[in-house]
Symmetry: C2
């Protein structure tokens, strides 16, 4: 049970967390902070938060749990204010999609307070953003990955774990570096492919027609290209070295396919596609739900 929860950044993730904890009866008061007045007003109107303020120091006053749900590029400045203004006993956590960078920032900003900081990442969301898209069910059956450091207080980790469990999520732990590798593969690279494909096709002379004839597969395939550009810029910058390795691997894969196409090597193409299909079908059987 959380007495006073501060959500820093009441967007899709922050807003959904607030709504889920409210629905679970797991929280007393919810204070929402953000830089966009209209969005905060909307959060209040929707009943997602109880109180709003544009002043971050005021927002974290008296909080026992502070959730930082801002783009990664704003993590440092946000943690700086929180370090100075939050109660020393408050547990602080974040929801960023890259964790090594967050740990480094927390280490340099929080000092002694590092022990009360639990790096976290709910693997949920989608191409929508903003509090209007928030919903209490967003995390049900989704995974939340925590990447506590050697210095992280066990009690703080437990508090964050229990908070996420109350939303219906499955909580697990792994080292930050490992998280960043796995997410580069499953999330960051696919977003680059979707953004890249739409950008490339949009520059073709035949763009209008290309979009006109785009079939259902293209629609699904490019859905994630409608994701928030600022958030993704920050993820790329925060997880650059893992991402660039994945892009290299993917280019090598495309060249393998291209070589088979150019050489008319039907056997190689069939083998590759059949391999991919069997792995994807197996994945869908093993993990039928998101």
């Amino acid at each position: 049970m959380i007495h006073r929860l501060t959500i820093v950044g009441v967007g899709l993730i922050g807003g959904s967390l607030a709504a889920a904890l409210r629905q679970a009866g797991y929280v007393g008061e919810i204070v929402g902070h953000g830089r966009n007045r209209a969005n905060l007003d909307r959060a209040l109107e929707l009943g997602v938060v109880d109180r709003i303020t544009l002043d971050l120091a005021e927002a974290v006053e008296g909080a026992d749990m502070v959730v930082v749900a801002v783009p990664l590029g704003a993590i440092r400045s946000t943690l700086e204010v929180i370090a100075a203004a939050a109660p020393v006993e408050a547990v602080i956590t974040d929801v960023g999609s890259a964790k090594v960078m967050v740990v480094e920032v927390a280490r340099s900003v929080l000092g002694e307070g590092l022990s009360r900081f639990v790096p976290g990442h709910p693997v949920a969301g989608g191409e929508q953003s903003g509090v209007a898209a928030a919903r209490a069910e967003l995390f049900v059956d989704h995974k939340v990955i925590l990447t506590p450091t050697a210095e992280t207080d066990t009690g703080a980790t437990t508090a964050v774990r229990e908070m996420w469990s109350a939303t219906g999520a499955t909580v697990m732990e792994m080292p930050a570096g490992h998280h960043d590798q796995v997410l580069a593969a499953t999330s960051h690279l696919p977003h680059m492919l979707a953004y890249g494909l739409v950008a490339m096709l949009s520059r073709l002379e035949s763009e209008a027609e290309v979009f006109e004839f785009a079939a259902g597969g293209f629609r699904d395939f490019t859905r994630i290209a409608s994701s928030d550009p600022v958030m993704w810029r920050d993820i790329c910058l925060a997880n650059g070295s893992e991402l660039t390795t994945m892009i290299d691997d993917f280019i090598a894969e495309l060249k393998l396919i291209q070589g088979a196409v150019d050489g008319g090597d039907g056997t190689a193409l069939l083998d590759e596609f059949a391999f991919a299909k069997s792995e994807r079908d197996r994945f869908m059987r093993q993990w039928p739900k998101p």
Copy 2:
């Protein structure tokens, strides 16, 4: 109105066309041909066709419309039998995803009969295959592209156009070469990206985990990697030169993104992602339906 329709290859596309024409009351008898007895039996059982045969020459006997819905690699041998066995007045059309190659094959195989052959491509389908996935509504509000040649008889084109219109599809015409360019961009390249991504990730040491943490975006993104490998091998071989150009363009795009990631160029990343998002959002507003 078609009196006797022969569907050569009663899979997702052939089966759905039969079901749609039956539902529209646009056809007398439907004869199904295929090489897989069990699949044909299923088609009969489902009421998709009235009569089945493993003998192609027998299947086209007395037909006024013959629809070739086989993988592109089987087009030549199929057209050879049809050329010898179908009534001279029968209209012949196909549903292949690459059209220049089909036109070349038809030109070399059909001789005088070329005038009665109308190359076509319904832009519909999905990752499912087989007659069990067939449904009468598959083509509603979808596009069917016809690519008649200079030799194609206008009456034959009209007959094929009217057949597809009866399924609820929107029928349009364009040159075969142009079709192959547009489809390489909107369909063939995205399938390579999906197959390639799944294949590449499946070879990572952390494969099991990668799949475990794959979020909803990944699921949508890789859906088309569950498509039929034989069909896609044939499309790659049939439309190789357009596809290889698209792969080159896409690798250049990925290198652009990778360069910005490596150089920490947030402005370039934000510009590229914002451009892609705005184009994709515009596309979804302009073409809300598939």
